[in-house]
């Protein structure tokens, strides 16, 4: 069988860069192969896929050495010599930020755009749209404007529009980053179906390794522009040396593999099998753990209930009463929200796509005025405050950091807010230096923000907010598009701001693991209402309620539940550390 992609001795350097982003890459992919490409932020993953879809060298210029050849099964195309419009019929791409690939205003016209440009007959266009719509489950979005979609919905539309081109190679750059857990599962199943049934070659860049590793035929680990490891998932994640390398470069192996790895290291137990699913992991654990029931909850969780009950002793920083918000098109996004947030809280806001999480945050920020009810921040009614006043109290880091970056240098970017407050030059310089230091960006102060990696751009966005010294910080989807290392670094920073400066932190996320690890209080939203609000572990225990919102328990909690089938009675846990605490107790 012919290879669908052949890459030989590929090196690439951007025009403005001093170093090569890709170095001597050799790679082959077969039709119907599902390849998972992993690596830290800024390692060259996106550059690599751009050499396959033709964006490099046709759009992004630089020095390209070596060859990339793609095949549709009948013909072979040398990427550097083939026009991008021809390549588009062979290689479909779904980018990290779906907005960058929308051309039209409505979902339906967006889906029709690609096939129309291939001059296909209307019947064929309709057939392709029907197929793509069904595959991605977006029937209800067809008549909507692309601007009215939530982040997750946009991503589904982007995948569907790539599918309408019926490509033989599909490249997906973190397609599930904006999706809720159930949405992500559905999309991965669709991608897997495309591979198995339509024999499409898929290259997937993804940080959610737990879910995707069971589908992948091959995992490629990339670092500093090179492929440093390659093989089937069980081989890559089962090799202790590769796992150590993964940790070194800031990649966390799938959680269930990591936990077994840590137990085997600590207890000197030999574990030969490499699990790719939670069920497999529970089976292996049941085989190595002495059968024992533990009733004590981990200490942190015991304290959470008391913490939640005593919150009202603190100063109230956000007061929301009977808040309703209706978009101009009549969509009722918030339906009677009553909520108090107290000083120094670390709150996680979770919920499926379109549940009203982001709208709630934008209302808190004063960008959206309530249609009914009120929002008070630090005792002041938000609708009576100017945006300049609000920016001193609340800061928000958006899902897409690029929306916040528009200055020529990192220094100017961070100084922009304080300058607009009319602060003296010495005060501005002091605040900028402090923010640069906190975000470890000193060495990039003269760089152009947009030339930095996504993780670094995220840090610049946070620094630009920190320089305003807000009392409340809202982080919308902080884990999107970040490797585990950057993600942990970012969340640790939020934790530090919360603990050391008593800053109130609100994190909106789909990552149940991240929220479980950092948030003490969780608010679950569904259809513009608060479904539940309480201490994190109590909310996570209620599986029925989580299922109602297309969310799922963190993997570690699921493993504990799975272990019950093998006769283990264990208390709920939210983090790997808490699980290891329980394992220690079992071995004691």
């Amino acid at each position: 069988m012919k290879n669908s992609i052949v890459v030989e001795d590929l090196s690439f350097r951007y025009e403005i860069a001093k170093e090569y982003t890709l170095r001597d890459i050799n790679f082959r992919a077969m039709p119907g192969e599902f390849i998972l490409l992993i690596g830290p932020s800024g390692c060259g993953k996106t550059t690599f896929i751009n050499t396959i879809n033709g964006i490099i060298p046709h759009v992004l210029k630089g020095i390209l050495r070596g060859d990339v050849v793609v095949s549709d099964g009948e013909n072979e195309y040398v990427v550097r010599e083939t026009p991008i419009k021809t390549l588009a019929t062979v290689v479909g791409t779904v980018f990290q930020d779906p907005e960058t690939q929308f051309f039209t205003l409505s979902v339906l016209t967006e889906l029709a755009f690609g096939p129309e440009n291939l001059m296909l007959p209307p019947k064929e266009i309709k057939r392709r749209i029907d197929f793509a719509v069904k595959a991605t489950g977006i029937e209800h979005l067809l008549q909507k404007s692309v601007f009215d979609l939530s982040g997750g919905q946009k991503q589904r539309v982007a995948i569907a529009s790539a599918l309408t081109m019926m490509p033989k190679i599909l490249i997906l750059d973190e397609p599930t980053a904006n999706l809720d857990p159930q949405g992500a599962k559905e999309v991965l199943k669709v991608i897997d179906r495309l591979v198995r049934e339509l024999n499409i070659t898929v290259i997937l860049i993804e940080h959610r390794l737990e879910e995707v590793s069971k589908y992948a035929d091959r995992v490629i680990v990339m670092n500093k522009g090179e492929f440093i490891a390659e093989g089937p998932p069980r081989k890559v994640f089962g090799d202790p040396h590769i796992v150590d390398v993964l940790y070194d470069i800031g990649i966390r192996p799938p959680w269930h593999i990591e936990i077994l790895h840590r137990i085997s290291q600590k207890r000197s137990v030999n574990i030969d099998d490499v699990p790719l699913t939670i069920e497999e992991a529970a089976k292996i654990l049941a085989g190595i753990l002495p059968k024992k029931s533990i009733s004590n909850e981990p200490r942190r969780l015991r304290e959470l209930e008391k913490y939640y009950e005593n919150l009202s002793k603190r100063r109230k920083v956000i007061e929301i009463r009977n808040l309703w918000f209706v978009y101009p098109d009549g969509t009722v996004a918030l339906k009677g929200i009553n909520l108090d947030i107290y000083e120094g809280e670390f709150v996680g806001i979770i919920g499926q796509n379109g549940s009203g999480k982001s709208t709630l945050c934008l209302t808190l920020l004063g960008l959206y005025r309530p249609s009914h009810g009120y929002v008070k921040v630090l005792g002041k009614d938000v609708s009576k405050m100017s945006l300049a006043e609000m920016s001193k109290s609340v800061g928000m880091i958006f899902q897409n950091p690029d929306l916040m970056l528009f200055q020529s240098t990192v220094w100017n970017e961070i100084a922009f807010g304080p300058r607009n407050l009319g602060l003296p030059a010495e005060e501005i310089a002091m605040r900028v230096k402090e923010s640069l230091k906190m975000m470890r960006l000193e060495e990039y102060k003269d760089h152009t923000p947009r030339a930095l990696s996504r993780g670094q751009r995220h840090r610049v966005a946070v620094a630009s907010i920190l320089s305003m010294r807000p009392r409340i910080l809202i982080a919308d989807e902080p884990t999107t598009g970040q490797d585990y290392g950057s993600c942990r670094e970012y969340l640790e920073l939020l934790r530090r701001l919360n603990e050391e400066q008593n800053m109130t932190i609100l994190v909106v996320s789909h990552s149940m693991d991240i929220i479980g690890k950092y948030a003490k209080r969780v608010i679950v939203m569904k259809d513009g209402r608060i479904l539940a609000d309480g201490p994190t572990h109590k909310i996570y225990e209620n599986i029925k309620m989580l299922m109602e919102t297309d969310l799922e328990q963190p993997r570690v909690t699921q493993i504990v539940k799975e272990l019950k089938k093998y006769g283990f009675q264990l208390p709920p846990v939210l983090t790997a550390e808490e699980f290891l605490e329980i394992v220690d107790e079992i071995f004691r």
């Binding site: 939640y308 009950e309 919150l311 009202s312 009463r321 009977n322 309703w324 209706v326 009549g330 009722v332 339906k335 009677g336 929200i337 009553n338 909520l339 108090d340 947030i341 107290y342 249609s371 009914h372 009810g373 100017s386 209080r521 608010i523 679950v524 259809d527 209402r529 608060i530 479904l531 539940a532 609000d533 309480g534 201490p535 109590k538 909310i539 209620n542 029925k544 309620m545």
Partner: protein
């Protein structure tokens, strides 16, 4: 929006639109030959300002007085409707009166004579009109977002429209709640159902 901004907004709208309304009233009157403020003659900006201050003799006749007062009232009601700040609008009315005088004196060197009591009729009428509209607006039943949604067939349970005094206590287990959620975090009971809420 602060009071200062609302004042500037009122002043700008009232100062600009009162002369505009005056000219429009004049034009309509001319069209139907019923309300001839200038006997069908072309009019300049400073003449409009003079008419607004009721300085020409013919402006103080019944037709002139009614037409000018109507222009003042319309201009300032428009200004109030945009700023919704009654006190600032009244302050803007007084300011604009002096601005017309300053304009005539400084640009056209026209000696100002205010004929009393007619000269104050437009300004006092506009102040009374703004007050009356503010009062009517205060006491008339307001359309809420729920009325608008009801009109398009979207109805929500009454329990959802109530503001709650927080923290609440779960009616079943007594757990503290810092919001008004559907489910209690402690006993997982459906609080909405217990409190007689319901579904959308």
């Amino acid at each position: 929006m602060g009071a200062g901004t609302e004042y500037i907004k009122s002043l700008f709208i009232g100062f600009v639109f009162t002369p505009v309304f005056f000219v429009v009233i004049n034009a309509i009157g001319y069209e139907f030959q019923v309300f001839l403020l200038f006997k069908g003659m072309p009019i300049t900006i400073h003449q409009v300002a003079m008419w607004l201050l009721l300085m020409p003799e013919e402006s103080r006749g019944m037709v002139g007085l009614v037409g000018t007062t109507l222009a003042w009232i319309m201009g300032w009601l428009l200004a109030w409707s945009r700023s919704r700040n009654t006190n600032m609008t009244i302050l803007a009315i007084i300011t604009s009166y002096f601005l017309y005088i300053i304009y005539l004196v400084s640009f056209w060197r026209i000696p100002i004579i205010i004929y009393l009591p007619e000269g104050l009729v437009p300004i006092i009428s506009s102040i009374i009109a703004v007050y009356l509209f503010a009062l009517i607006n205060k006491y008339r039943p307001k359309k809420t977002i729920f009325d608008l949604l009801k009109r398009v067939g979207i109805i929500f349970p009454e329990a959802w429209k109530k503001p709650y005094n927080l923290p609440l206590k779960c009616p079943k287990c007594g757990a503290v709640l810092h919001s008004s959620p559907k489910y209690c975090w402690n006993c997982y009971s459906d609080i909405e159902e217990i409190l007689g809420g319901g579904k959308s």
